[in-house]
Symmetry: C2
Subunit: 301 residues, 2 copies
DNA sequence: TGATTCCTATAAGCTGTGCTTATGGCACTA
DNA sequence: TAGTGCCATAAGCACAGCTTATAGGAATCA
């Protein structure tokens, strides 16, 4: 009922080559195969498209008309193939990557360097700053191809609800204590979380806050949270002025470490999981896979 | 190794419809058939083109790239189909028709009228004046689609050499005597060609001349040809002034008949065959066939 | 004038593409 | 918890669409 696109291309090859036999050679087929296709095409169209001459083949008016469109079809298919080839080899294309701020300041630049070394030359990576919740929302809304998020094992976060996303663990980011240098416990050996039970605390995002509360409760106290901010620079500023103590992930500290705060570990501290998240199947998109492998190759923590 | 154009169109249908199942419905197929095609397409491309969601399907970047070209391919195929449809029904297109001058003045206009009545509305017929030899050369050179020629059974003309053209007889055009009205034989009953054995003659083209000579010899004399011209108006002018006698085909006389000449028949006169000639296979081109049928429906002679 | 080589069409057969039906899993909705 | 979308997979079967083989016409050349 409609034009068989393969036959249109065969027709194109025949007219271009000048004869059915030459067309068949160009296509790597035998002459009868092409003869049959052309006959079928002409039958479906209801008129002859080429006139058979002893020396080859001459398009009829209808053949000329079809030929014009066949040229367009052939070149579009060719262009599509080339374009897909570039995408396949990551010589082109864009990957939109959402990540939380401290990752954007640390592991993402590292990953981008690895990406360039791995031959991600023509690949554009568009970076979007977003906290995990927003990153996953963007992923869901198809505004982003890849999200780097974090989560705490002891806190039920948005990213723990299985949304059908695929996720790849990138590593564990240790969480460390941040104290003013003048603090009596700042240089005490064998420091435990419980030693800070009566301090004022700075807490971050809701989940970070929950995480802090969870660790403290397991250490036997309820932390008094007197300040709240997501910003790890602000946290260190508050701490450095002796207003409170806090915890910060190592990644945040490697993004910015004030000289006026002391960082200490404690056995009761648990880290946060850092993950790359993407829509199911997106991991097999070459550009996404390439960025993903660069992320995985980046040392975390 | 390259994109299967059918699968590109299937892909187009799927993305347009929003899901594999919907695409299958649009194509009148079952869902597994389309699933398999898409899978094969993605395998040949080497990357996923769509992401499967519970609610349907979302194109990947590569899918978007392919989609742009697929749109173009689909619309070109559609346009080609429509254009061919118009050509098939002779609502468009051009037929180039070569004919000898007196035919152009008589039977061709009649045929064009019939053509219009038969619904050849959108069809353009381009008329080219050409004597049979030139008409066949044009046909050979693909400058013309159809040629109306004439030939004499007793003269070996170019058109009698089988060039592989197909030819349709349109009728026999009687050849008649042309005499000055003042001629002693102009009104004689039971006129025979031999009665004009000692006259001066006007002859036309080489073949017409041979034809005249042939008829005369069979009637027992060698005609004295003192004037030569192809132009049937000139012939009549010469005859009307009493300078000579001549023969002219009836078609020429119906194109122009001087009141100053007398037209007579004679049993020894033989007519000329009028034919339509075209390249082999061209008779199955709808527009050519339509013009041809109009020509055949035109009464000759 | 035959020999050769191009062209195309047709016949007959076999292979593998590409449908089908059947089934199962998963996500969302009521 | 059933119901209704979605998709993937398996298995089977038919026919599309190749192949080889053959024949005939037209052009070229010795």
């Amino acid at each position: 009922m409609a034009l068989d696109p393969r036959r249109v291309l065969i027709f194109h090859a025949v007219v271009t080559a000048g004869s059915i036999s030459a067309g068949a050679r160009a296509l790597g087929w035998t002459q009868p195969a092409v003869t049959q296709h052309i006959a079928a095409l002409e039958k479906s169209v209801g008129m002859p498209l080429i006139l058979r001459r002893p020396t080859g083949v001459v398009p009829t008016p209808a053949g000329h008309a079809l030929m014009a469109h066949a040229e367009a079809v052939a070149s579009h298919l060719d262009a599509a193939w080339q374009e897909l080839d570039e995408l396949r080899h990551c010589r082109a294309g864009t990957v939109r990557l959402a990540a939380f701020p401290s990752a954007l300041a640390t592991i993402i630049p590292h990953a981008m360097k690895i990406l360039n070394d791995q031959g991600g030359g023509g690949l554009h990576v568009r970076l979007i700053e977003a906290e995990p919740d927003d990153a996953l929302a963007s992923l869901r809304a198809d505004e982003v191809d890849l999200a780097v998020t974090f989560g705490y094992s002891d806190v039920e976060g948005v990213d723990d609800i299985d949304e059908g996303f695929e996720r790849v663990p990138l590593g564990v980011d240790p969480v460390l204590l941040v104290l003013p240098p003048t603090h009596p416990l700042a240089h005490q050996e064998d420091l435990h979380l419980g030693d800070l039970a009566d301090q004022e605390w700075v807490a971050g995002c809701p989940r970070c806050r929950e995480h802090l509360v969870g660790m403290a409760r397991r250490a036997g106290f309820e932390p008094r949270i007197s300040h709240e901010t997501d910003d790890y620079v602000v946290v260190q500023s508050i701490v450095s002025q002796g207003l409170a103590v806090s915890v910060l992930p190592k990644i945040a500290l490697s993004a910015y470490h004030s000289r006026s705060v002391v960082v200490r570990d404690a056995p009761e501290l648990t880290g946060r999981r850092v993950e790359a998240v993407y829509r199911p199947g997106a991991g097999r998109i070459p550009s996404v896979a390439l960025v993903l492998s660069a992320l995985r190759a980046t040392h975390i923590g």
